[in-house]
């Protein structure tokens, strides 16, 4: 496996949005010559501010957005300029988890119904697992299968989104700010789930985030985007320890609470664990 092709390879990707028809505005170059590579089993972070092009890049990667120029290949197969039929087949191998789970689930569909619809669309790829086993993979029990999205908490709904993504055994999970809408105590669970799925499902993850502390705790490598370009990339620890681009430095300087660490709260002189109450 060590000689395996990269899961995702993007070369010189450009995405241009035309604004003709809206006065005399110039075209917007949302992604401007980005190259990016994700090896099997990697969790790769993509950071940048709003408007930097990270979501446009993610959508292009997931075959959901436009591509003006450049190459994207998934496990060695080109995915630009292919037939619709092949694209549909390939699309199942890249799954996306969006920021707001309640916005991405159909409000009128129970969890079970949503999964069965997916199964009918992808009969070949979805028979490997039952609904209950699938939910167990994301830490949920099957009694939630008959719930509607509004009956789920934010964390539960995001787990359902991840379960739906996993149903098709994707090689790549594109997670666009998957925890920004969640409370921190729930965010921790979802981030842990991603780490765990990388091990158990051998899925690679492209994690889009504005939170460098999240990226540092989760990602093997990181790309920093600004104004549609990758300004810096590298191994997470290395890049964050000695950033060379001024923009990366600025991002790091802006992180709140850098001086706090966990030593105090992880120290053993905390609770003395006693017998459980009956």
């Amino acid at each position: 496996m060590s000689t395996a092709r990269p899961v995702l390879q993007i070369e010189d990707l450009r995405v241009v949005f035309s604004q003709r028809g809206i006065g005399k505005r110039p075209d917007v170059v949302a992604v401007d010559g980005v190259s990016l590579c994700i090896e099997a089993g990697e969790i790769v972070g993509l950071v940048g501010e709003s408007g930097s092009g990270k979501t446009t890049l993610a959508l292009a990667t997931a075959l959901l957005g436009r591509v003006t120029d450049g190459r994207i290949s998934l496990e060695g197969e080109d995915i630009i300029g292919i037939s619709r039929k092949r694209m549909r087949r390939l699309r199942s191998r890249i799954q996306v988890v969006f920021q707001d789970p309640h916005g991405s689930l159909d409000p009128r569909q129970t969890v079970r119904k949503g999964l069965s619809e997916l199964r009918s669309l992808h009969p070949g790829r979805s028979t490997w697992i039952t609904d209950a086993e699938l939910l167990a993979k994301v830490g949920m029990t099957e009694d939630l299968l008959d719930h509607l999205p509004h009956e789920l908490s934010g964390g539960q709904a995001q787990r359902v989104s991840i379960a739906r993504a996993l149903l098709l055994r994707p090689s790549l999970l594109v997670a666009d700010e998957p925890t920004s809408a969640l409370d921190v105590s729930v965010q921790a669970q979802i981030l842990n789930l991603m780490l765990q799925l990388r091990e158990s499902e051998k899925v690679s993850v492209l994690l889009i985030s504005h939170d460098l502390s999240v990226v540092r705790n989760l990602c093997d490598r990181v790309y920093v985007m600004k104004d549609g370009r990758v300004v810096e990339e590298g191994e997470t620890e290395e890049l964050l320890a000695s950033p060379t681009h001024p923009y990366t430095r600025q991002l790091i300087a802006a992180i709140p609470g850098k001086d706090w660490d966990r030593s105090s709260i992880e120290s053993p002189n905390g609770w003395r664990e006693g017998p459980d109450s009956p």
Binding site: D183, S213, G274, S277
Partner: protein
């Protein structure tokens, strides 16, 4: 020194078609001059309802069921009084989360600042108002403050709008400023700039501050004290350093273990479960159902506040204490 603002036993209830819930309960808070208090909590913890109640800005289905509020020693709420409208704007300014929706889109920033002065300091002359407006806006870190005054909200960027909202909140020189998630919608680098300004409000401009946020580490950057809320109650309160470095309440510890920290890569530990629905008859610790250290006694009676020197908590077996055997 007397507190500027004292809140005692505040209880706020919200009624909807599915019944009544207790949004804020047994809420005590003292704000002294120069204090920067972080009010920390996750969604549904009651932090926003609590500060909105202080301003008398609650929704129609929300009512203050109990409690008293004193401003500079004078009772403004309780015993049949409700003078919260006298505080609002003049003595307590408010900066909301989303400046693009809290600012009036039809009025220039200058006009909105002038309105606050007119309502709160009607005796002064227009010329004095103009001077005050220019003085305040010049301190907000704008490159071109005059242009900001002439601008409508949509002509400003998110960070500029948030700073304009701060200018509007402090133009009438309130003793206390309440900022509710005032930087959550901003990019991190813009957030850092606005936080610098928030810090200056307290240090150079002499306002006391209540900083409401879900972000514990962000609060730790500016706050001298922290109050952590869960299920409508303050569960722990104390100086920032002691709350973060030596939390006593299991929920505070749970939060700290959930936050990805910059300094040290460590496994994150979330908090399993979801917060309870607190109805008027609720008894016991609100956190008991999710607490790894809960014993029978936690759910049998309401947990009283324990004050130790300058910090306190609401827990019968706090971190560092001998363990309750709790064989009830």
């Amino acid at each position: 020194m007397d507190p500027l603002l004292s809140v005692r036993s505040l209880r706020v209830e919200a009624t909807s078609s599915v019944g009544t819930i207790v949004a804020v309960d047994r809420f005590d808070l003292d704000i002294y001059p120069g204090d920067v208090i972080g009010l920390i909590g996750e969604s549904g913890s009651g932090k926003t309802t609590a500060v909105r109640s202080l301003l008398g800005l609650t929704e129609r289905n929300v009512r203050i069921a109990e409690g008293s509020i004193y401003f500079q020693g004078e009772q403004v709420l309780g015993d049949g009084k409700n003078h919260l409208d006298r505080l609002r704007g003049r003595h307590v300014g408010m900066v909301f989360q989303n400046a693009s929706s809290s600012l009036n889109p039809l009025l220039k920033i200058k006009t909105q600042m002038r309105q606050v002065l007119r309502v709160n300091q009607s005796a002064q002359r227009a010329a004095a108002h103009q001077r005050r407006i220019e003085e305040v806006i010049s301190r907000m870190g704008f490159h071109d403050p005059k242009r900001v005054l002439r601008s409508y909200p949509h002509q400003l960027s998110g960070g500029m709008r948030q700073r304009a909202a701060i200018a509007i909140a402090i133009v009438s020189e309130p003793e206390i400023v309440i900022a509710d998630e005032s930087t959550s919608a901003l990019d991190v680098t813009t957030q850092a700039e606005v936080m610098d300004l928030v810090r200056e409000l307290a240090t150079d401009m002499g306002h006391s501050l209540i900083y409401v946020t879900h972000d514990l580490l962000l609060a730790a950057e500016v706050c001298t004290r922290m109050a952590v809320m869960y299920g409508g109650e303050i569960v722990e309160e104390g100086p920032t350093a002691s709350v973060i470095a030596a939390p006593r309440h299991p929920y505070t510890l749970g939060l700290l273990r959930s936050v990805p920290m910059w300094a040290k890569k460590a496994p994150l530990v979330g908090i399993e479960g979801t917060p309870p629905r607190v109805t008027p008859g609720f008894i016991g610790c609100r956190f008991a159902s999710r607490c790894a250290h809960a014993v029978g006694a936690c759910s049998e009676a309401d947990v009283e506040w324990t004050q130790r020197r300058d910090s306190g908590f609401r827990c019968i077996q706090p971190k560092g204490a001998p363990l309750h055997t709790g064989n009830g």
